[in-house]
């Protein structure tokens, strides 16, 4: 990577004070996302972790405009996506794509694989005739490591890993710049997970893609991500580079999450103690926002708590 590009990485996505409430104003209101802000830089992989129901998937779906945000703004290349006009929508749809969680639900069972992959090609008129379409589908099948024979098959004939690769081929067909991977590996078994993650990495290198990688598996997120944000109850708890979050966690919730990660080491496992997390510390009524504790490491904190977190960051340094 060139030095100057590292100095001023371009912001691809800017999320500012995003709120996404469902059934807003009614008794069954759900605050799925409650005021989060973060940036995603071009070419990086941004990991978003958190437990079920923490709002990770909703964040992804808001960014790709499957939902209209309650308030706040999301900028893509500096342009507010909620203000994109109808005629420019197709262009936006081409630049941002999504890989879905459940490979069994993300492919239409009534369509052939080649029609699934070529769906984007048809919508955006990227091919002129059937020969070109078939050629492009074959190219994509090769890219994700599937056989060309598979083009005329139906999704139910494939395994979970193969289906996920079909889903990846569908997303890549329109040559996007940014891909939201919404827990793409959580429904796969472990031997296949690495296959799919490595495929995603290879494609990223080849096509210079930016990823938002949503997952709940911390070790997998650390492996693929450059920066990680930890989400809980619709808010960002901690945001930093992958190694900082993993090795020097500051927020008690992150510490608790990390203490739950199993390692293939019997001696470690025998002595492993899970750190319980008491979320009442979030509900003391004090205003909290993401504060930079050490350069590049943000934690959700009040003004008073900053010094506490700085002190614990110091401890890591002393060790």
């Amino acid at each position: 990577m060139a030095n100057d590009s590292q100095a001023t990485p371009k912001k691809l996505i800017e999320v500012k004070h995003l709120k996404q409430y469902f059934n807003a104003g009614r008794p069954n209101e759900v605050k799925a996302i409650d005021d989060i802000s973060f940036d995603i830089y071009e070419g990086e992989t941004f990991g978003l972790v958190g437990e079920s129901g923490s709002g990770k998937s909703t964040t992804g779906r808001s960014i790709i405009r499957l939902y209209n945000p309650t308030s706040g703004e999301i900028k893509f290349y500096g342009e507010d996506i909620s203000k994109i006009k109808h005629k420019d929508m197709l262009k936006f749809r081409r630049e941002m794509q999504m890989i879905f969680q459940d490979p069994y639900a993300s492919l239409n069972p009534r369509m052939k694989v080649k029609d699934i992959i070529a769906e984007g090609l048809d919508i955006h008129h990227l091919v002129k005739n059937d020969e070109e379409r078939d050629a492009r589908v074959n190219e994509l099948l090769d890219l994700v490591g599937l056989s060309r024979d598979h083009a005329t098959r139906y999704p139910h004939e494939f395994s979970g890993g193969q289906r996920q690769r079909i889903g990846i081929a569908r997303a890549l067909a329109v040559e996007p710049k940014f891909i939201i991977a919404d827990e793409p590996i959580s429904a796969l078994d472990v031997s296949i997970q690495a296959q799919v993650v490595n495929l995603l990495r290879d494609i990223q290198k080849e096509q210079n893609l930016t990823y938002l990688f949503i997952a709940h598996d911390l070790s997998m997120v650390k492996y693929i991500s450059d920066r990680i944000a930890v989400m809980h109850n619709g808010r960002l708890m901690e945001l930093s580079t992958a190694s900082e979050v993993y090795d020097h966690p500051l927020h008690p919730y992150t510490k608790s999450l990390l203490s739950a990660v199993p390692l293939p080491d019997p001696m470690y496992e025998r002595n492993r103690h899970r750190k319980p997390y008491d979320d009442s510390i979030e509900h003391d009524g004090k205003e909290r926002s993401l504060k930079e504790i050490v350069p590049g490491h943000f934690v959700l904190a009040t003004d008073e708590e900053v010094s506490l977190y700085q002190a614990s960051a110091e401890e890591y340094n002393e060790k």
Partner: protein
């Protein structure tokens, strides 16, 4: 097991080397590629009752189509002299089709009594106006099936789009559309039909329209419920992220996945429409005379059932067979299209 089967020897020629990096070879699927419909037909063929029903209905439909151009004799032509003749085939050798009837304890050859020429016979007899019942039954089945199909067409044309739009739009639009359905369905069917028949002249058209107006509600509800689950499916979300228009999503993703629901509901609503028409004709507000439908035949037949039972048996058997066959076929289709519901 025989002893000589144990001494099989393996040598290096017994094995074949597999090329290491041949993705195409390794990932080849050898099973034939079946479309969803081919797979459903394969499952349907295993259900004997459904297959028999299907061929029975096919036969009935073929007979109905033939009756458009040809019937043994004119179904509406009256021969008062030949009234109430019992069934007779050829020379009257077949039991039940002898042309003889029991009159006051004596077996009487009605054909001889009525001085019917020796070559003339009526397979299912004649009615009180001397009309050929077999021809009338052919025409009647054809008319009843036509009404069934036309009424079901309303289901498809109104019910399916209504359900898809209601389910897809959701929110306030859905609420309004569902309240509208509830208002329509709260009025009894029969009241609407009678009002419609007062407004228009009784006949095929007004019966079909009257049934069409009330009949699509079940279809719309089923399609809406299914659409509500389909629209949150990830492949529909994927189509949206690709920028597919709602209309295209409906055509490419929703309707193909709704097709089993639609086909099954159609197969259930055809017999319902046939039965409803028969009921209307039976109580005298259906198909006007002299045209025959299953309902008018039953209505005529039951008046003389104690003395001339054959006039009711055959239409009754026909409607029963049609109803049972449609229901068994629909059942079979449901199992074939939706293997999950099978026990």
């Amino acid at each position: 097991m025989a002893d000589n089967s144990t001494d099989i020897k393996f040598n290096e020629n017994s094995f074949k080397k597999i090329e290491k990096h041949n993705v195409d070879e390794q990932e080849k699927i050898s099973a034939p590629s079946l479309t969803f419909f081919q797979d459903a037909v394969r499952r349907l063929k295993k259900n004997k009752a459904a297959v028999i029903s299907f061929w029975l209905l096919a036969l009935i439909v073929v007979f109905s189509i033939i009756s458009i151009w040809w019937t043994p004799s004119d179904p509406n032509a009256q021969h008062v002299a030949y009234a109430n003749l019992p069934p007779k085939i050829a020379n009257g050798q077949i039991p039940g089709f002898t042309g003889k009837a029991n009159v006051g304890g004596r077996i009487v050859d009605k054909y001889a009594q009525a001085k019917v020429p020796s070559g003339t016979y009526y397979v299912l007899g004649t009615d009180y106006l001397g009309r050929d019942l077999f021809s009338r039954l052919m025409k009647g089945i054809a008319l009843s099936l036509l009404i069934g199909f036309l009424a079901t067409l309303f289901d498809l044309v109104i019910g399916v789009p209504y359900g898809v739009v209601s389910g897809w739009k959701g929110g306030r639009v859905d609420t309004l559309m569902q309240r509208f359905i509830e208002i329509i369905s709260s009025i009894p069917n029969l009241v609407i039909v009678i009002l419609m028949l007062l407004l228009f002249t009784p006949g095929l058209g007004s019966i079909v329209v009257a049934m069409g107006i009330t009949g699509w509600i079940t279809m719309a509800r089923l399609v809406r419920a299914e659409t509500l689950t389909l629209k949150t499916q990830e492949y529909v979300l994927a189509a949206r992220t690709l920028g597919e228009s709602p209309f295209k999503i409906a055509i490419k993703h929703l309707v193909p996945n709704l097709s089993s629901t639609i086909i099954i509901q159609t197969m259930f609503s055809i017999p319902t429409a046939i039965f409803f028409e028969a009921f209307l004709s039976f109580i005298g507000i259906g198909i006007p005379a002299p045209n025959a439908s299953l309902g008018t035949l039953l209505s005529d037949g039951q008046k003389t059932f104690r003395f001339l039972p054959y006039q009711m048996w055959y239409p009754a058997a026909a409607i029963s067979i049609i109803m049972i066959a449609f229901n068994l076929l629909a059942d079979g289709l449901r199992d074939a299209f939706d293997p999950k519901t099978q026990e």
